[in-house]
Amino acid sequence: MSETVARSAAPAPTAGNGPGPAAPQLLEVSGLRVTYGRAQAVDGVSFAVGEGELVGVVGPNGAGKSSTLLAVMGEVRRAAGEVRLRGVPLPGRPENVVRSGMAMVPEGRRLFPSMTVQENLQLGRLARRQGRVPRLSDDEVAALFPVTAEFARRRAGLLSGGQQQQVAIARALLSDPDVLLLDEPSLGLSPTIVASVFSALERVNSLGVAILLVEQRAEMTLEFCSRSYVLVGGRIRFEADRHTSVETVMAAYFGGEPVASGNRP
């Protein structure tokens, strides 16, 4: 597979509430396209995540949310567009992207089921950048996700869904990312478990890790994140925040144009 170095003359990122106009955002995605054969999964998506921000992406099933995250990580090919971390273009392969300060908790958690929790976490440390004190120490991660210590020697596949989700987030955090991407962390979990996972994420964010959270549950996500992009049919329809009504978002799901001031035409 060839490296996909983005080459398009990228339009300026559109997200509004960054610092100065010249300072690059922490994570900037511009004009991102993903195609599977002839199908256009992501159709020119641009967004940004600021330092320490907690940003959501909501949208219906098949809107291109997962594809967007996977393309940011380089796990699926970027057909066009550019992804930059602190102004530096991210490499095209996930094993290199994760070494530049991005980490992803994939949909369905994707732990290594026959390996122990400890081994899963050890694999998470693989991508740590050299000569950098991690933002979260191993102990802090263990404190945030107590199951990782409690079941350290148990096979990951034997844990419950909620426990696995905690291990998956801990594994991603141990690579010491600047931005943590999460793909549907609430999937298949009971409301109580979801609440505990989200409160852990809140603490992670408060320790300075920027989070980009992809979710199908719009209401919860709008409430949780400081702002959220609404992704429908491979395009960002508008940017919502805590004050945006769920009805407006739902209208966008079904093709309605938002009346609220979007930041993307």
């Binding site: 597979m1 990580m73 796990e75 392969r93 996930p94 094993e95 994760v98 070494r99 992803m104 994939p106 994707r110 732990l111 290594f112 089921p113 026959s114 390996m115 081994e119 050890q122 694999l123 998470g124 693989l126 991508a127 594994r171 991603a172 690579s175």
Partner: protein
């Protein structure tokens, strides 16, 4: 003594097939593709021993390792890399083709009648005489397999490389997302696979010094039967499957009257057919295992 002799001989053939199964299973684990040409790596190793027959034995063995590892890596670069992303069936056919082509090449270069490698012949002396001859090489085979499989276990479960290999075998995409460099892991799998092929080449040529163009093919066919029998997607079970086939094969050879030895192969395959009908995921796979992956 006779029974013990039969059993020890059966264990040693089982050990040899287990080593071949490992060399196929290592590559399958990380790539989900079967390398049918692995037998030719063994043949190549065996011929290299013949070519280096005038060198000191230790040097010939060291060079045999180098040859097998190089051949294994060449297969990776020339066959597996261009076919990356292709279906398992495509690679199966491709490696079958490579295997066929190489056999023709051996035939052209070395001729059909075989070349005798007289190396370490003293290992063929008997430890215990009597009705069933127990030769030193039998014990060496068992010892080599124990040491190698033990070493492999240590590698897989006690080193970072082993952990990365297991991660790739379990979930390639997840492994890549945590930062495992897949190319590196795959290369190591081919190196280890080539090294196991070299061990098999050395042991098998000492035991059967006549190296013919189908030397490795005859070995790999049975080992593959074992791999399928054990369950392809689990290295431990595949290895155990290889062992079982070697063991059963050797025992049948000892037990059957001489005029019925021709049936050993058919009986072995009958055994496999029955297993695959009853337990399609493999004899040793857990019940209800996912057949699709095999």
């Amino acid at each position: 003594m006779t029974v013990v002799g039969y059993l020890v001989n059966a264990i040693s053939l089982g050990a040899l097939y287990a080593l071949i199964a490992v060399s196929v299973g290592l590559v399958f684990g990380v790539l989900r593709q079967i390398n049918l040409a692995q037998g030719e790596v063994i043949t190549f190793g065996a011929y290299s021993l013949w070519l280096m027959r005038s060198l000191p034995t230790w040097l010939a063995i060291v060079l045999c390792f180098a040859v097998c590892i190089a051949a294994s890596l060449l297969l990776q670069v020339a066959v597996f890399r261009p076919l990356r992303g292709a279906s398992a069936l495509t690679t199966l056919v491709a490696t079958f083709g490579v295997s066929y082509g190489l056999e023709a090449l051996w035939l052209i270069i070395f001729g059909p009648s075989g070349n005798t490698v007289s190396m370490l012949t003293s290992l063929n002396n008997t430890v215990v005489g009597g009705a069933v001859a127990l030769r030193w090489i039998t014990l060496v085979e068992i010892g080599a397999a124990v040491v190698l499989l033990g070493g492999l276990l240590l590698l897989l479960f006690r080193t970072s490389l082993g952990m990365r290999m297991r991660a790739v075998a379990e979930d390639l995409r997840a492994a890549r997302l945590v930062g495992v460099r897949i190319g590196q892991v795959v290369t190591w799998a081919f190196v280890l696979s080539g090294a196991s092929a070299a061990v098999v080449a050395v042991l098998a040529t000492v035991q059967t010094p006549l190296v013919t163009p189908t030397f490795g093919l005859n070995l790999i066919i049975f080992a593959l039967v074992g791999v399928v029998l054990g369950g392809l997607d689990h290295l431990g079970r595949a290895t155990a499957g290889g062992f079982i086939v070697g063991f059963v094969n050797s025992l049948l050879g000892s037990i059957l009257p001489e005029q019925e030895l021709v049936f050993v192969t058919s009986l072995t395959f009958l055994f496999v057919v029955v297993v695959l009908v009853v337990r399609p995921a493999g004899l040793l796979a857990p019940r209800g295992a996912d057949v699709e992956r095999v």
